[in-house]
């Protein structure tokens, strides 16, 4: 059985996923990442249903959530996570291309723990992703029920 991944990355763009994973490699966190490609799948993963019914129990230490997603968008996913008593303690970091302020305001209103704009510049991008991943998945004390993080440094 696959061990529980500490990071859930929700992003529909395969290239972004690859870049994000390559950035997280710097912290040896790449293997700790579960990737889903749309909002509905993210909720399925968190609720362990559908194709994710067989995943190990427990919540990820952090969810990296893109805003523009097929099916349910990132803000809708965020709202459902924060309204669900069993999920709302999971830190959610909005990881998005958008600098548009209404999105930012809405995200904080719904209870996002951080909001990171993916920089065009790759070096900055790597820096931002590493920081976020490291802080929430490694440094931050995960709430009860989160994965213990096998294979962490």
């Amino acid at each position: 059985m696959n061990p529980l991944k500490r990071i859930l990355l929700v992003d529909d763009n395969r290239k972004d996923v690859e870049l994000t994973l390559s950035a997280l490699e710097g912290h040896n966190l790449a293997n700790e990442v579960a990737v889903v490609r749309d909002g509905a799948a993210a909720l399925d993963y968190l609720h362990r249903r559908g194709t994710f019914a067989g995943r190990p129990g427990g919540n990820p230490a952090v969810v990296l959530l893109d805003i523009k997603l097929p099916k349910l968008n990132g803000l809708q996913v965020l709202e459902r996570i924060k309204l669900d008593p069993s999920l709302r303690t999971i830190p959610v970091v909005m990881l998005t291309s958008s600098r548009e302020e209404p999105d930012l305001a809405r995200a904080y209103e719904l209870g996002a723990n951080a909001y990171v704009v993916k920089p065009v510049d790759f070096a900055q991008f790597v820096g931002a992703v590493k920081e976020v991943g490291a802080f929430w998945a490694v440094v931050n004390e995960a709430p009860p029920g989160s994965s213990t993080g096998e294979g962490s440094p």
Binding site: S98, V120, F122
Partner: protein, 607 residues
């Protein structure tokens, strides 16, 4: 007829005759009284003397107790037919003899009274003592009737009556003549007053008879008439002026009595309504509005307050027009309404114009709503566009940069230097495009977002912007001269962007100077507006291109000289103009540049 109501002529005659009559009557009465008194005295004297003579003649008869002789003496009284009875009493007061003889003793006084005389109602009584040589022998009693006295009295009365009547007749004639002198001026005055009152002719005058009180009264009356005549003339002139004016004004006008009954219409009214002078103004009301108007008019009459409303009056052509109707109560000094003065001003065209304006306004409002809706739709589309740009245009750039970097990691060692340079160019271009997109998005957002107005301390914004440039300045020698800056009303985030852009420009374009001197300050302009300037001693610009500075993507330098997207100043202009201010710049090549922007006074809040 009561005395008060009698004509003055008769009053005077009566008074004169009464006075004369009473005086005459009093004189006659006094005369008669004196005459009667004298006559009575002579009667007494005559009878007493005869009694004394008889008494002297009867002494012998009494002394000798000769009754026959006594009767003989008494019979001498026969000569006087007025003697009713005579008695001779003896010393013992017993009847000794009587005249006429044989008078029954019951008809006689039983005993004689004291000597003297006495009048009864119809008789004169005399008691005379009979004495001889101081020796009292008896008493003689004589009684006469008063026929003479009464005859004389009747005569006097007759004379008095004749004299009185004659005198009164004379008095009447005289009084009639004399009263004429007094009553004639009064009658003339009264007649004149009556004529003035009847004919309202104040030009009449009463004739003045003399300089007495009546003359003065007549003069006063005439002067009063003259005064009234003047007033009357002035009143008529005023009335004439009023009529002329009322007939020339374009308004319809009328005057009504306190009851509301119209007593006069001006010419315009009669022309417009085609009515007659005796009509009532309500008759000209449009039948459809009668029920609306009449209750209010009745209320106004009852309360005595002014009446004002727009109402429709039907013209002689049968068509109705709207009139602004004002009716003002005219009151006397007791505050009671004496009459009403009404005007009807034709406001039909104004009303129609108002209606047209109202319709135009409605149309305009609808157009504004439509246009606003269009603008809002356009804005939403623009937002959606920006959102897409923000997400979808940036993602490929990020991928280009990202994968070039991955390529560099995996294959840099095997690439020739030219290949590595090309990778650098790809990375730079992607990054520059990313900056362009970011700046464009900010610029677009500034155009769409409504400024949130609050008090903003420009001094503080300057300090924040300066702090944000620390990294950019690095080890450079930059001298800041920051003057006093005001607190203004504006959108804090937007104004911060303005200072960030202007100060960043100043720092950037003074890069070649050592030291770079940057001055920030403010002055008061027209209408109390604030003018803020940012001045540097940098490379400056040619004033020929000054108007290009604030355009989007307009640059005066190549990217190699000074990097930039050409959006910063466009953003500044957009933000300032959204605050109701202006932007402009002054400069010269290699002589530095000064950028100005104005912000309106808070008393004139920006739209």
């Amino acid at each position: 007829m009561k005395f008060e109501d009698m004509p003055i002529r008769r009053k005077l005659t009566l008074a004169l005759m009464l006075t004369g009559g009473v005086t005459l009557l009093a004189a006659c009465a006094a005369f008669v009284a004196v005459e009667i008194a004298l006559f009575r005295r002579s009667m007494v004297g005559s009878l007493s003397m005869r009694a004394q003579i008889l008494a002297a003649n009867s002494t012998g008869a009494l002394a000798f107790e000769d009754q026959d002789d006594a009767r003989e003496v008494l019979s001498a009284l026969r000569a006087d037919p007025h003697v009713v009875v005579a008695v001779l009493y003896d010393r013992n007061n017993a009847v000794f003899a009587t005249y006429p003889a044989g008078v029954p003793p019951g008809a006689l006084p039983a005993v004689p009274e004291r000597a003297g005389h006495r009048f009864t109602r119809s008789h004169l009584l005399v008691y005379q003592p009979v004495a001889l040589d101081e020796r009292w022998l008896g008493t003689l009693f004589v009684q006469t009737d008063l026929t003479d006295l009464w005859d004389r009295l009747q005569l006097y009365a007759l004379i008095t009556l004749v004299v009185l009547l004659g005198a009164l007749a004379l008095a009447f004639v005289l009084a009639s003549r004399l009263q004429h002198k007094i009553s004639q001026p009064i009658l003339a005055l009264a007649g004149c007053a009556q004529a003035v009152s009847d004919r309202k002719d104040y030009s009449l005058r009463a004739a003045a008879p003399g300089r007495d009180e009546l003359g003065r009264l007549t003069d006063a009356f005439n002067s009063m008439l003259a005064h009234i005549q003047d007033r009357d003339a002035a009143l008529r002139a005023s009335e004439e002026r009023f009529r002329t004016m009322a007939d020339t004004i374009p308004q319809l006008a009328w005057i009504a009595q306190a009851s509301g009954q119209v007593s006069w219409f001006n010419r315009r009214w009669l022309e417009y309504t085609g009515g007659r002078p005796g009509m009532d103004w309500q008759q000209a009301l449009d039948p459809e509005t009668v029920l609306e108007v009449l209750p209010r008019w009745i209320t106004a009459i009852a309360s005595g307050g002014p009446f004002e409303m727009d109402l429709r009056l039907r013209g002689v052509d049968g068509r109705s027009r709207t009139f602004l109707t004002r009716v003002q109560p005219l009151k006397n000094e007791n505050g009671e309404v004496v009459s009403w003065f009404g005007t009807n001003t034709d406001v039909e065209e104004i009303k129609q114009a108002e209606e047209r304006v109202r319709l135009l306004n409605l149309e305009l409002e609808q157009r504004v709503r439509d246009r606003t809706a269009q603008l809002e739709a356009a804005n939403r589309e623009l937002e959606a566009f920006s959102y897409s740009v923000s997400h979808d245009l940036r993602a490929p750039l990020r991928h280009i940069g990202g994968f070039v970097n991955l390529l560099r990691k995996s294959a840099e060692a095997s690439l020739p230097p030219e290949g590595r340079r090309h990778l650098d160019i790809i990375t730079d271009s992607a990054a520059q495009m990313g900056r362009l997109i970011d700046d464009l998005l900010v610029f677009s957002r500034m155009g769409r977002t409504e400024p949130t107005l609050e008090a903003v301390d420009l001094q503080q914004l300057t300090q924040e912007a300066m702090a944000g440039l620390a990294h950019e300045i690095g080890a450079r020698n930059v001298i800041w001269n920051v003057g006093s800056l005001p607190v203004v009303r504006g959108d804090r985030a937007m104004l911060k962007q303005v200072f960030a852009n202007l100060l960043a420009n100043a720092v950037k374009y003074s890069r070649t100077r050592d030291p770079a001197v940057i001055e920030v300050g403010s002055t008061r302009g027209e209408h109390d507006e604030w003018i803020v300037h940012v001045r540097d001693n940098g490379v400056g610009f040619d004033m020929e291109y000054a108007d290009k500075l604030f355009g989007v993507f307009q640059r005066l330098h190549t990217d190699e000289e000074f990097e930039g997207t050409g959006i910063g100043l466009a953003n500044v202009r957009r933000i300032v103009s959204r605050h109701g201010g202006r932007t402009w710049a002054e400069g010269a090549v290699d002589r530095g540049a000064t950028f100005y922007f104005s912000l309106p006074n808070p008393k004139e809040p920006p739209v």
